[in-house]
Amino acid sequence: MAVMNIIQAVNSALRGEMRRDDRIVVLGEDVGKFGGVFRATDGLYKEFGQDRVIDTPLAEGGIIGAAIGMALYGLRPVPEIQFADFIYPAFDQIVNELAKFRYRSGGQYTAPMVIRTPYGGGIRGGHYHSQSPEAYFIHTPGLKVVVPSNPYDAKGLLTSAIRGDDPVIFMEPKRVYRAARGEVPEEPFEVPLGKAHVAREGKHVTLLAYGAMLHTALEAARIAHDKGIEAEVIDLRTLLPLDIDLIVSSVQKTGRAVIVHEAPRTCGFGAELSALIGEKCFLYLEAPVHRVTGFDTPFPYTLEHEYLPDANRILTAVDKALNF
């Protein structure tokens, strides 16, 4: 097995699927000859040509609007939005059109596609290269939302997303694009959507995280372990549909939950997780559910590490949960 980083894993998934199915086309800004600003589509233009790896005009709404048409026609587009922060011009096409085609046509039309987009902070990108807009899309019926944290899942989840028949927002944690490395099979394989993963077992508290924050949660769990606290860390992987059963069984076991994400707190995905845990684990809870999140401010430039959750803030929440 090869050792890959997340970019290489994404590239490997795209390549494998494009070889398997000639309906798959990649389109976006700078994805062709240049291979993408993060190199995720590197070499695809050379292998598959300009009709399948397409440089587009600089218009996100046009990329998604056109990709919807391609999908209606029977292609399997995998558009890239260069940064999740730039996805908003396409918001109407995504939430009102893409997400609704199957439903509003009574199942006559489908628009299967995977919108890949790097998200998240910690790369000195300021407000417009750091955002985590997952909540908007999780809140939109008709979209699946996937956030891998490691190369193996990035390839397996992307492969599943491309093979599925629903529109998927595939958010790639750019902070750990290169830092997260691991063994990944070179041949295609699937990691099913809708299944979370226990990244570390524990019995005292459940940490729920996804994407880049999974690594921060694991770091906190390691430090906690040195203090005799065993934190169970769950990598959600798919935010919608959510693996509610795994979350519930873990929280019922530990009696405590700390949710970690870098998006702002108010109406962030943590609010939904907290509500679900309240509904389904009430009699098992030893402490209130805690949220460690980005603050309810625009994403800052200079103070981004103050903004982003770190192991210290997670450990503070763990302490509160244990000493309630």
């Binding site: 005009p57 048409g69 292609l75 199957r102 439903y103 009574g106 006559q108 039309y109 599925g164």
Partner: protein, 393 residues
């Protein structure tokens, strides 16, 4: 004139009086951009163009008959809306030629992405009237399963898209369909219908731009009917025509009398031929007029002079086509009477059948959100079914 020098691209630039002359030379002359209005039939039904479009007589009669049906349908459905039997309605009165003439110019395999006044294009392709009325009622036999407001139809089997209320969203989608067909090597054209108001949306501009860049076989058919709800076309653009917007995107722009079915047919046919020949997209501005209200929810007497729609009655697209047919001895008063009666009978029968059909079953609310029902929707569906069971407890 001073001696010239080669510019960066090799073209000649002026050395002296550079600012004045360059400003003059570089000015885009508006007159060069404004296309003439294409007209084939005069209002009296005589031919203006030297060449008569070759449409078989049976087809001409069929197209006219469809217009009779649509006019009748609009009249009847609007009344039904007033009686509270359907929730909402939108008419195409006065714009029938722009719709029927353009769909007739396409192949059945070509795609149509509609705005919300083009149900006639679906009927032309064989969408049963009964299905249309089932959609208006949102009943159990509505093929869109009661999911959208009346008029928001979708007919996959006829390559007829899905009506969306947000204005202009279908335009880049049509571009994408056309582009996909081109990439697959299929001789398929996509046509997007939209109104003058939609040209103010970003979606129109990105679609036109993409279409230009990729030479996509797409036709943008703008029904310039003068009004977007209460907003006149003069508030949508400062350009003299909508067709001239094509120039900046490197696509073809045509301006046609939208109340002249033959002219609409001719320009659409030509646009489709260009598209199929690999010459790219065409923006067609069909100049017409929205004689009725925007929808059953507004009253145009509040925002426009009633003399205006009256004046456009004189340019009625059906009257013009009928005069042409009469001159060709293809249509008589008796034909008119028969067509009208048949339309009334058809509408009555379809309505009677459709009104007897119950609403869709409650559990169907959860179908088609995704390909498969995820766990949280299984749970919510049960919640609804339990709630229904416990009603009146």
């Amino acid at each position: 004139v001073s001696s010239g020098a080669a510019g960066p691209e090799g073209e000649q630039i002026m050395a002296e009086n550079a600012i004045e002359t360059a400003a003059e030379l570089g000015r885009i002359r508006k007159d060069d951009l404004v296309p003439d209005l294409v007209q084939v039939l005069r209002e009296d039904g005589t031919l203006r163009s030297r060449v008569e479009p070759k449409i078989p007589p049976a087809d001409l009669k069929r197209l006219y008959g469809l217009m009779v049906l649509c006019r009748q349908l609009d009249h009847r459905m609007m009344n039904l809306q007033r009686q509270g039997r359907i929730g909402f309605y939108m008419t195409a009165t006065g714009e029938e030629a722009a719709i029927v003439g353009s769909v007739y110019a396409l192949e059945p395999t070509d795609w149509i992405l509609p705005c919300y006044r083009e149900y006639a294009a679906a009927l032309y392709r064989g969408y049963p009237l009964r299905d249309f009325i089932c959609q208006l009622l949102g009943n159990a036999e509505d093929i869109t399963k009661g999911r959208q407001m009346p008029i928001h139809i979708a007919v996959r089997a006829l390559n007829f898209g899905s009506v969306s209320s947000p204005v202009g969203t279908q335009i880049p989608q049509a571009m994408g369909i056309a582009w996909a067909a081109k990439l697959r090597g299929d001789p398929t054209v996509a046509l997007a219908y939209f109104g003058d108001g939609a040209t103010s949306q970003g979606d129109f501009h990105v679609a036109a731009n993409f279409a230009g860049v990729y030479k996509a076989p797409v036709i943008f058919l703008c029904r310039n009917n003068g009004w977007a709800i209460s907003t006149p076309a003069s508030v949508q653009t400062a350009a003299e025509t909508f067709a001239q917007k094509a120039v900046a995107y490197g696509i073809e722009g045509v301006r046609v009398d939208g109340n002249d079915l033959l002219a609409v047919y001719e320009v659409t046919k030509r646009a489709a031929e260009r598209a199929r020949a690999g010459l790219g997209a065409t923006l067609i501005e069909a100049v017409t007029y929205r004689r009725g209200a925007h929808s059953s929810s507004d009253d145009p007497s509040v925002y426009r002079d009633e003399a205006e729609p009256r004046a456009w009655e004189e340019k009625d697209p059906m009257v013009r086509l009928r005069r042409y047919l009469e001159r060709k001895k293809l249509w008589s008063d008796r034909d008119e009477e028969r067509a009208l009666q048949e339309a009334q009978r058809e509408v009555h029968k379809a309505l009677e059948e459709a009104e007897a059909i119950p609403p869709p079953p409650p559990a169907s609310l959860f179908d088609d959100v995704f390909a498969d029902l995820p766990p949280h929707l299984v749970e919510q569906r049960q919640e609804l079914l339990d709630a229904i069971k416990s009603k009146g407890r």
